[in-house]
Symmetry: C2
Subunit: 152 residues, 2 copies
């Protein structure tokens, strides 16, 4: 589980001559413990600080940057001015999409990847070699829709 994934990350770091320092470990643990939540750097910093009060914000940023370079994390931007981070799926092409609620702002992941056909069509028509995609749906989540017969 968690330890295992940490182990694999440590190995990947070592392979590239980087160290898994206590600060990096704390940062990664926070990410592992909050995988559903699409935390921003500041969010992560505050949570790491609870357990390791001496960590600096710059270190968190540097860790996130490094992990993104190593393709362990993926930096995403939902358009609200802060970057958020999530683990890349470990086995290649397992894409997922995001549902963002316009009412409450919650971000949900959905695990399907129904885009095979679409990708094929686009790739053929525009001669564009697709490496990745990002699909975001904006709308109203179930809770907000039922909450108050919302007129959306």
């Amino acid at each position: 589980m968690e330890e295992e994934r940490l182990e694999r990350i440590r190995d990947e770091l070592h392979r590239q001559n980087y160290k898994l320092t206590p600060q990096r470990e704390s940062t990664i643990r926070v990410l592992l413990e909050n995988e559903e939540d699409h935390l921003s750097a500041e969010d992560i910093y505050l949570r790491v600080k609870e357990k390791s009060p001496d960590i600096g914000l710059a270190t968190v940023y540097r860790t996130l940057e490094l992990m993104s370079e190593l393709h362990i994390l993926h930096k995403i931007n939902f358009g609200d001015g802060v970057a958020r981070y999530e683990f890349k799926s470990e086995k290649g092409e397992h894409h997922h999409h995001h549902l963002i609620c316009l009412d409450c702002g919650k971000v949900n992941e959905i695990q399907e990847d129904h885009l095979g056909e679409v990708e094929r069509a686009v790739s053929d028509k525009y001669h564009f070699i697709i490496k990745d995609h990002r699909l975001i749906f904006h709308g109203i989540c179930e809770e907000c829709a039922t909450k108050e017969g919302n007129s959306h």
Copy 2:
């Protein structure tokens, strides 16, 4: 053509008790003349400044913000730290997607919207009322692929 669209924007502004000032007009003209280019606020500012050197950056930002509120422009974020702006299609639900080249950074629009089925599936399964979507493909564009038998 351009004048016509400007006319319609002027009307929309007036309907909401806003004015089409010279600064706003210059800003909108730059957007109309560079519709393909996904300009950032700074880009727009520099181009407006060529013709109207006295305009301030804040005014450009305020204009872009206003036009976004009025649903004339759409503010998008490709994840590079700056917001970009494009006109909303005038007849409602005509979505388009973006192809971003990982080599040269160019952004191309594609006009299809093949997502009807996908939307239906997602909407049914997750009880999420979809209002809009954003689909971005990252990959290698035709020029970059041919340019040098690129190994991507």
